[in-house]
Amino acid sequence: MDLKEIIKRRREKFGDDLKAIKGKKKGLPTPEIPSDLFLVCPKCKKSIYKKDVREAHGVCPSCGHLYRLSAVARVKYIADEDTWEAFDFKIARNNPLDFPNYEDKLQQNAEKSGMHEAVLCGRAKIDGTKCILCVMDSHFMMGSMGYYVGEALTRSIEKATKEKLPIVIFTCSGGARMQEGMVSLMQMAKVSGAISKHAAAGLLYVTVLTDPTTGGVTASFASLGDIILAEKGALIGFAGRRVIEQTMRQKLPADFQTAEFLLEKGFVDMIVDRSNIKKVIGKILEMHG
């Protein structure tokens, strides 16, 4: 449905009422924004048409603010049409701490996000080059890494090593999954180990750090790419802002732990516009082909 059609339909439905209200000279009624069609940009506060945001892959058409993309939307945008082949690893979810209500929480997150867990992994072509692609999703328990995420990433990296393919990982995570305790911490070592084998085979690993990439994910595979790209304005860091403010007893500058801050400090190769990211990854893959 395009905008004209929507306006026409709304006229048909409410036209007379509006006229009636106007006739009483009570001023214009507060426009009712249908939340299924419009959203208010958290940055520029303008009402924007959802379809426009979707078509721009989650970029506000008015101010350029980046929305957090779901893994599905990201894959759809990054992978060449009809090349995505998702891995079905059949990894069981587990609850090593017997943490109260954890299974329910996983189920709720699955229903809310439409994801089985916090990462999607598969084979794809990006601008014609074959690779393994893994995309984390912050809509599932803040993209946190427990056994499932660590195992899915490890198996994907191992596949890449075996099939001599480059691997591209989009990170988006609050860090290690607290509810799985030390098992989550061990995932950091496991995934980093898989990366070391992939690296030893002389293969390319590209990470794209998106908002947010923090904690145990920053302190493991996110920081290990041969080439590290980042999305504009993304929060990237090890410790949480609040924790640092408490430790240092001082306010942090606004740009602290942004992609731009990391670029300046030398921890990111380049910041890439979302509209351009597929092309940049495609070029990188092509030059390493």
Binding site: M178, M182, V183, L185, S192, A219, S223
Partner: protein, 259 residues
């Protein structure tokens, strides 16, 4: 003792720290400094020594004892340059075919502005990746507190041991309660569910060996505990030094691949 009581024991000011163990266990310890890039981080001690005549490399997180020393050592919370010094010395150990002994004792990697500016995450990540490939034996011993990535960054080992009353956790119970329940005063309850004791972690097979402590903890009889630590390390070294260099790296990879 429950996890919370063990944590209290592990945090007691009189508990012996890394330097005590280094001096009691090894001979001819020579401390080496600096990451060759930014500065020396006193929260991590590194160097070489001999154990029963065999040269080894030592990496240890050190909290300090007196208030002045604690402040110099940043209470055992390393900065990125500490982890980079550790990695430099571990790679040196590999070059000269020396086993590596790590003592873990930190509440966590430091959370501060400088640490972020200099890439705390990257420094830890690099250690995890590189330690996985080293072709010499690595033994890590958790002495009191093993906190999160800051502990793991020197604990990607062939053998991971814990003192009986030490804890090893993804985050301090205070932090855990604050994140999950928005209430850090529920730390005791958190300690109860987190499975952070040596016994819990041995059951999960996350650690390989528990080194016993007397009643009242290592602080009650530091010399005896140091002897037990020495024996545990020496026994493991005998076993690990028989393994070929490539196999050592494979063993370590497989140890963590199983989690």
């Amino acid at each position: 003792m429950n996890a919370w009581e063990k944590l209290a024991l592990a945090r007691e000011a009189t508990r012996p720290t890394s330097l005590f163990f280094i001096n009691s266990i090894f001979d001819d310890f020579l401390e080496f400094h600096g990451d060759r890039n930014f500065r020396d981080d006193p929260a991590i001690i590194g160097g070489i020594a001999t154990l029963n005549g065999r040269p080894v490399t030592i990496i240890a997180e050190e909290k300090g004892n007196s208030l002045k020393e604690k402040s110099v050592r940043n209470f055992g919370a390393p900065h990125p340059e500490g982890y980079r010094k550790a990695l430099r010395l571990m790679q040196q150990a590999e070059k000269f075919n020396r086993p590596i002994i790590c003592f873990v004792d930190t509440q966590g990697a430091y959370c501060g502005i400088g640490a972020e500016e200099r890439g705390q995450g990257e420094a830890i990540a690099k250690n995890l990746e590189e330690m996985m490939t080293l072709k010499v034996p690595i033994i890590s011993v958790v002495l009191a507190e093993g906190g999160s990535g800051g502990a793991l960054a020197i604990a990607v080992a062939n053998k991971v041991m814990m003192l009986e009353n030490s804890i090893y956790s993804i985050l301090s119970p205070e932090g855990f309660a604050s994140i999950l329940w928005k209430d850090s005063s529920r730390a005791e309850e958190a300690a109860g569910v987190m499975k952070i004791t040596a016994q819990d972690l041995a059951e999960l097979k996350i650690i390989d060996e528990i080194i016993p402590e007397p009643d009242g903890g290592a602080q009650a009889d530091p010399e005896t505990v140091a002897k037990s630590v020495k024996n545990a390390i020496a026994d493991s070294l005998v076993e690990l030094c028989r393994v070929s260099p490539t196999k050592l790296a494979d063993m370590r990879y497989n140890r963590f691949r199983g989690f």
